[in-house]
Symmetry: C2
Subunit: 207 residues, 2 copies
């Protein structure tokens, strides 16, 4: 399929916040910003993550479009339960997909570049499915809680408390503008941040 | 129709950023945050706006769900061109709708409360239409440019330059994460802010 066809599946120009499902052997889900620019699509994956290992191994994965903040926040800190996955059969392998996404696109890796900390891959769309989706008005609380989750992963990596201030500002927007689902996601996030703080205070490294 | 049915049309729990079209006599469009909470829906409209006058007069309007940032930014500072409207016929009147929205909901006003600066109305959904819509991945640049437009209207009202810093921060996200449409909307917004700054510097009141 052509890159331009991705418009129909919600992956437009710019950075799309999607949930990447990967791992033919060990299905895993993680939120990723997928970059579409000049008719090409790229991902950057950091070493040490399950997604990095899976994509390096299989060179194929799915990008799932959803606006469910619970899936974003849960998959930021741990894997999703089995019941959240379904599978796309390709030859004799099964590529994991997110079950309740608005759409899913199967990508294979094109050119891959490795740096000390990450890999950047141009990715090529192979097939796509639009599921049962609904229009959804822009909700600032939704974007804010996803942004807060990104800051939380950076706090975990750097232990720089500036990120805690950014998280507070984001979650203020979530509690003001979000619906129940966004507020529930914020609660899960705050619990995870408490756990990270404990590890930081105890001087214990994250796994 | 029931408030719970609004889920299907993208107006969920929390604050939905929509474009409100109003004015049986003088069609007008403006971005508004529509509040859905505890199975009720509310809007707050500030005195001095065309939307305020139209809704006070007609007590009926449409909420249009879209993720087109150009429509949000353009309708923040001026009315949209005629070609952007279509009409919903009710008895002998025509209620303006946004032509290319993902969905549109007709609301009538229930209880209205007036304060010195604004009116708050509980609003009752009457009818709704889902149009031809597509899934869309979350794009932080999109929400950021809409947030920047909200800050710009506050800057215009208060002339407090703190809002300019907030706008800068939002547009940084838009230039980093947005697609071409988001960046075009940011350009329009920056031009409008320049105009506001000139008026502020000249000590000239806004109309």
């Amino acid at each position: 399929m052509e890159v331009s066809e991705l418009d129909k599946y919600g992956i437009c120009d710019g950075i799309s916040e999607i949930i990447l499902t990967s791992g033919i052997k060990n299905p895993n889900a993680a939120p990723i910003g997928l970059i579409r620019k000049d008719n090409k699509v790229f991902i950057r994956l950091y070493k040490g993550s399950t997604t990095y290992e899976n994509v390096k191994q299989d060179e194929i994965f799915a990008a799932n479009v959803t606006c469910n903040p619970l899936l974003f926040v849960k998959s930021t800190f741990s894997n999703l339960e089995n019941e959240n996955f379904k599978y796309y059969h390709l030859n004799s392998t099964k590529i994991p997909l997110l079950k309740n996404s608005a759409s899913s696109v199967i990508f294979r890796c094109g050119e891959i570049k490795h740096t000390e900390q990450a890999m950047t891959a141009e990715i090529i769309p192979m097939n796509a499915m639009a599921n049962d989706y609904r229009p959804r008005a822009i909700n600032r609380g939704l974007t804010a809680v996803i942004e807060a989750a990104v800051h939380a992963t950076r706090y975990e990596l750097t232990r720089n408390s500036d990120f805690l201030d950014l998280i507070d500002r984001c979650l203020e927007t979530t509690y003001k503008c979000g619906g129940q689902r966004e507020k529930d996601a914020a609660e899960i996030l705050l619990n995870e941040i408490d756990e990270i703080k404990k590890r930081v205070a105890g001087g214990k490294d994250t796994e």
